[in-house]
């Protein structure tokens, strides 16, 4: 498996250069009155589906930026949300 991703700083680069940060799951929840269940759902649960999704990637072997991008795990292509 290999594909390319577009870093907002460096442009299209080999996926080997990036580290995956999981699908977008919203901001870190407020900790006031945060139940353990809510906390662990946010930290542990991932919803990868074979359809375009927003994901976080880190350009580890490059500029060191975290960015989010839309990608389809079924095709490994960057692909915007289904309209």
């Amino acid at each position: 498996m290999t594909f390319r991703l577009t870093c907002p700083v460096c442009g299209a680069r080999d996926v080997y250069e990036f580290r995956y940060g999981g699908p977008e799951r919203g901001m870190r929840p407020a900790q006031e009155d945060l139940s353990p269940e809510e906390h662990f759902r946010w930290t542990q649960f991932r919803t990868t589906r074979p359809a375009p999704q927003e994901e976080w990637w880190y350009h580890a072997a490059g500029c060191g930026v975290w960015f989010s991008t839309w990608r389809n795990p079924a095709t490994n292509r960057e692909e915007g949300p289904a309209t």
Binding site: T2, F3, R77
Partner: protein
């Protein structure tokens, strides 16, 4: 044997002999030979024995893929004779052989096939269960190919890697591939071309037939020169492609020569478009004893003669199904090889020009006939040829039987690129149904046979790829010659349609009078016979993908090429299914197997060295790999480091702690970022003081600790453990990615060296190299000062006590570090200064009860578990500290692992780090670090154990269990507070 007279197609230098050894015998090849061509020329017919039945096997095809032609070379097993270039002095031996390959002792297995039906190994020997290990051992002794020579530690081949980027990658350097490369290589377009053979030209490289006033090899040579001279084309020869992956990553390897500076290298090419021109392979004809040495496909016989000037045999018979093989027969006859007869499985459809040429050469032509059996015990001595209905059978004496059932496209590369295929009743092959948008096919892989059509298809594919890159016809071309490209493509599309398309193919699968087919092989690698295929179907494994696995068809080194689409055709025929309804088996990468060592690449051990490396080496430092660094572990042969430890406790020692992570964070929101990732309240920092804290992950596990120092307004300096240095930036940015905070983070780890001066005389030493006030009042414990050392070298100085003594940690510019080290060394001489290494530091800090993340913690352990809950700012929810919710959730969980100190009881031994702590059969935890302390006079340690082992729990003391070399050992220990040495901290505050 005497070589054939060299011709313009000859690729060897017959007058430059190359001596080598074959199973101990000295023989000779010549410059340019492969191992296979040299062996064949020397009269060797049996290259090895087959995997299961130990049948003699020889040279079937020269592409180097089947197991039949694998040999051991200089002790390395499973080398391809067909593709390995011959080198002087090579020692080549046969595989899977007991004794001489011509009379292998296990050859008797060939008679046992009745008892070894398809799926034999899956179904036999599993009952009774207890008997299985016995049979397993016996079968393992017989199975496998080749023997690894463990006396030679590893092969010392030179490995290399090459990473390419191309606009267009062309797979296959035949005429269509070269034409495609030349057509695509317009201004601004970079083309990489990969050819598996050591030269460009494909099958036209050895064909002397004349078309349109030019011999085919001349056309091939002409194009090869153009490609070589083209500034935009990089052509790699001897470079098989192993697969085409996502977004057109073409991977492969390349065999190098002495001049190349590598023996085998891995390469990858990221391309925007790919053109596949891999040609065809011959589909093997299935008939009785079709694996006898001396049976080969037509390209093998032809290339032996034309490329290597080797006489493939004295007297040849052909049983084939395509025009190229007929051309081979005519050509071999012209080179003086006696061709007794040519059977063509096609009743009609043969090229009349070639039939006439056969007649002129006096060769008997038998349309509608095919081989039914090869004769001869160890090698081919004759053949029976019969009409397809088996009625008219004829016998010929021969030592060379050229056999194929026709041709099929070599679809491996296309298949791995995502192409789809369907069966064509016209060509009798699985031909391309659809291609990905950026993949193009050209040449014989598309079924073309006509030479002009092949070359034109290449030029067309090159232009199509170029237009695709440019965004399609009508889009703005990047090149200046837009109108000409447009016109050329339109013209070539029209011209293509006038040229001959794919001709009718040959649909034969097996020869006549097959019988049970128990000695007729579909797969040579694992001895898969026609009978096995029938058995597969009988047992319900009746579709190709199932039969492939149950009967082991195409799982060996030959992969797809042999048996190729024969498996699909066999299943269709045996089950009476229309071939159109059958899916051929998937071709899986690697299409051609590279050595694993080549994929692994050269053995680069890349590590970092601190600026103080050389000085420590000169003082006897023994270096070990620690994370990304080489670090001094010991300074003597005593790996318990008694002298180093004693010197720190009594005098003063110097430690190079440069790998320590060092960072600057600044900006208006820097404090927010610190509050997020550190578990303590970081707003409570004081100037001139180090703030010790830790980081947790989202599950509350401690992952790092270090100190933070405020440097100025919104400006902080902090340290991390050495192995967190590389991921700290990522960590900060990840956990603040939604916040839009304005801060900058700079990794200073390699910029600044770190020198740790530790011991009761540390102040005396430092005082000699700085004017700064080092008194306990002016620069107390946990203090931070910026001091000038020597002639004014700026040093960030922290008064910390990791090893439990008065100590100063000096962070200085990496380039100044050796000088500062020297200054300290000279200043310390009168106080008995000595270096100490990582092991001494480890023992010293453990004696003090200071933890190392990763040693006294592991992935289940939280901040609270190792007794560092005092760092946690519990009330702070506003900062959304990473790990805080998890700590809240688990703080009252019962019976978690806790860190304890222990003292080994009187008379106990010295357990090792990692030993387990037990209560009967129950494992309570494990020992993290344990050492004998000279200062204390006893063996101490830290362990992570379940809470019930502690305090009021139901277990008294610790029982440590080890089983070293099968000798169980139990050690009793008592739990004590983990502040073994100087529990009040008077020494580090002194």
């Amino acid at each position: 044997m005497r070589r054939l007279a060299p011709s313009p197609t000859t690729r060897v230098e017959v007058d430059r002999p190359v001596p080598f050894r074959w199973v101990g015998r000295s023989i000779e090849g010549c410059q340019g030979d492969t191992v296979a061509s040299a062996l064949w020329n020397a009269g060797v017919r049996t290259f090895g024995r087959s995997f299961e039945y130990h049948r003699p096997r020889g040279l079937f095809d020269l592409e180097g893929e089947g197991a039949s032609q694998l040999v051991a070379i200089d002790g390395l097993p499973n080398q391809s004779a067909g593709t390995t270039a011959l080198r002087a002095g090579m020692s080549v031996s046969a595989q899977n052989v007991s004794g001489d390959p011509r009379s292998d002792l296990y050859g008797v297995l060939d008679r046992f096939d009745r008892w070894m039906p398809a799926g034999f190994y899956y179904r036999r020997f599993h009952r009774p269960y207890r008997a299985w290990p016995f049979f397993q051992n016996r079968m393992r002794a017989l199975a496998g190919l080749g023997v690894l020579d463990t006396s030679s530690p590893h092969d010392d081949a030179r490995r290399s890697e090459l990473y390419l980027n191309a606009d267009v990658a062309v797979v296959g350097g035949g005429v269509s591939g070269m034409a495609a490369a030349l057509a695509a290589a317009r201004p601004g377009v970079r083309v990489c071309l990969f050819e598996r053979r050591p030269w460009l030209g494909g099958h036209m490289d050895w064909r002397v037939r004349e078309t349109r006033g030019e011999r085919l090899y001349e056309r091939a040579h002409g194009l090869a020169e153009e490609v070589a001279a083209h500034p935009h084309i990089r052509a790699l020869t001897a470079a098989p492609v192993t697969g085409i992956w996502g977004e057109n990553l073409v991977t492969g390897f390349q065999n190098g020569s002495d001049a190349d500076g590598f023996d085998e290298r891995h390469w990858e090419c990221r391309a925007r478009a790919v053109i596949v021109a891999t040609g065809t392979i011959e589909r093997p004809l299935v008939f009785n004893h079709n694996d006898r040495p001396g049976v080969m496909v037509s390209d093998t016989a032809w290339r032996l003669a034309r490329s290597y000037a080797v006489r493939p045999g004295m007297r040849a018979v052909f049983s084939v199904g395509d025009d190229l093989a007929l051309e081979a027969a005519v050509d071999l006859a012209s080179l003086g090889i006696d061709v007794a007869a040519v059977a063509d499985a096609r009743a009609d459809g043969a090229d009349p020009e070639l039939v006439a040429a056969l007649e002129r050469a006096g060769i008997e032509f038998l349309p509608g006939y095919a081989a039914s059996a090869a004769l001869g015990k160890h090698a081919v001595a004759g053949v029976t040829i019969a009409t397809l209905d088996g009625s008219d059978e004829r016998r010929f004496a021969c030592d060379l039987l050229v056999a194929n059932a026709g041709r099929q496209p070599d679809i491996g590369a296309l298949s791995s690129a995502g192409a789809r295929f369907r069966h064509s009743p016209h060509t009798h092959t699985f031909e391309i149904e659809s291609l990905p948008a950026d993949v193009f096919a050209a040449g014989r892989v598309t079924g073309l046979v006509d030479a002009e059509a092949i070359e034109t298809s290449g030029r067309r594919a090159g232009l199509e790829a170029f237009v695709h890159l440019a965004g399609g016809l009508g889009a703005a071309f990047p090149s200046t010659d837009e109108p000409s490209v447009y016109a050329e493509l339109t013209k070539i599309r029209a011209y293509s349609s006038e040229l001959p398309g794919p001709p009718a193919g040959c649909g034969i699968l097996h020869g006549p009078n097959l019988g049970s087919g128990r000695k007729a092989f579909l797969d040579f690698d694992e001895d898969g016979t026609w009978k096995n295929a029938v058995q597969c179907a009988e047992q319900g494994f009746d579709v190709p993908e199932l039969a492939k696995r149950f009967g082991n068809f195409g799982l060996g080194p030959g992969q797809y090429r042999v048996p190729g689409q024969n498996v699909a055709m066999a299943m269709a025929q045996i089950t009476g299914t229309a071939i159109e309804e059958i899916r051929c088996t998937t071709v899986r990468p690697p299409l051609i197997a590279p050595k694993l060592a080549t994929v692994a690449g050269p053995n680069h051990d890349s590590y970092k060295r601190t600026p103080l490396h050389d000085d420590q080496a000169s003082r006897g430092g023994v270096f070990r790999r620690a994370g990304a660094w080489q670090r001094a572990r010991y300074f003597s042969d005593d790996h318990t480091c008694r002298a180093e430890i004693r010197n720190v406790r009594e005098n003063v020692g110097l430690l190079d702690s440069s790998p320590l992570g060092k960072f600057r964070i600044y900006g208006p929101d820097a404090i927010h970022a610190l509050q997020r990732v550190y578990i303590s309240d970081m707003t409570k920092m004081k100037p001139g003081r180090c703030k010790y804290s830790a980081m947790c992950n989202d599950t509350g596990n401690i992952i790092d600790d270090g100190v933070v120092v405020p440097m100025g307004r919104d400006d902080y300096y902090f340290t991390t453990s050495s192995n967190r240095a590389a991921s700290t930036v990522e960590w900060f940015r990840y956990h603040t990615r939604y916040d839009g905070w304005n801060y900058n983070l700079v990794n200073l780890t390699d910029t600044l060296a770190s020198i740790n001066l530790a011991g009761p005389r540390a102040r005396d030493v430092l005082r000699k190299v700085t004017d700064a006030d080092l008194s306990n009042q002016a620069f107390p414990y946990i203090g931070y000062r910026e001091i000038a050392v020597g002639d004014g070298i700026a040093a960030r100085c922290m008064r910390l006590g990791f090893v439990g003594e008065l100590s100063y940690e000096l962070h200085v510019g990496a380039s100044h570090a050796p000088h500062v080290w020297d200054l300290l060394w000279s200043a310390g001489e009168e106080f008995g200064i000595q270096p100490f290494g990582l092991e001494a530091q480890n023992a010293l800090r453990a004696e003090k009860g200071h933890v190392i993340i990763g040693a006294e913690s592991e992935q289940r352990v939280t901040l609270l578990d190792i007794g560092m809950g005092w760092l946690w700012s519990r009330e702070d929810t506003a900062s959304k500290k990473v790990g805080a919710p998890a700590l809240r959730a688990c703080q009252d969980q019962p019976n978690r692992m806790k860190l304890v100190g222990f003292r080994v009881d009187e008379g106990g031994g010295s357990p090792q780090d990692g030993a387990i702590v037990v209560d009967g059969d129950d494992i309570l935890g494990f020992v993290c670090t344990t050492r004998y302390s000279e200062a204390l006079g006893w063996q101490f340690g830290m362990a992570l154990v379940k809470e019930r082992a502690i305090g009021d729990g139901d277990v008294a003391g610790l029982e440590i269990y080890e089983n070293l070399g099968g000798r169980p050992r139990r050690t009793r220990a008592t739990i004590v507070p983990p502040h073994f040495y100087d529990p009040d901290g008077t020494r580090l505050r002194s």
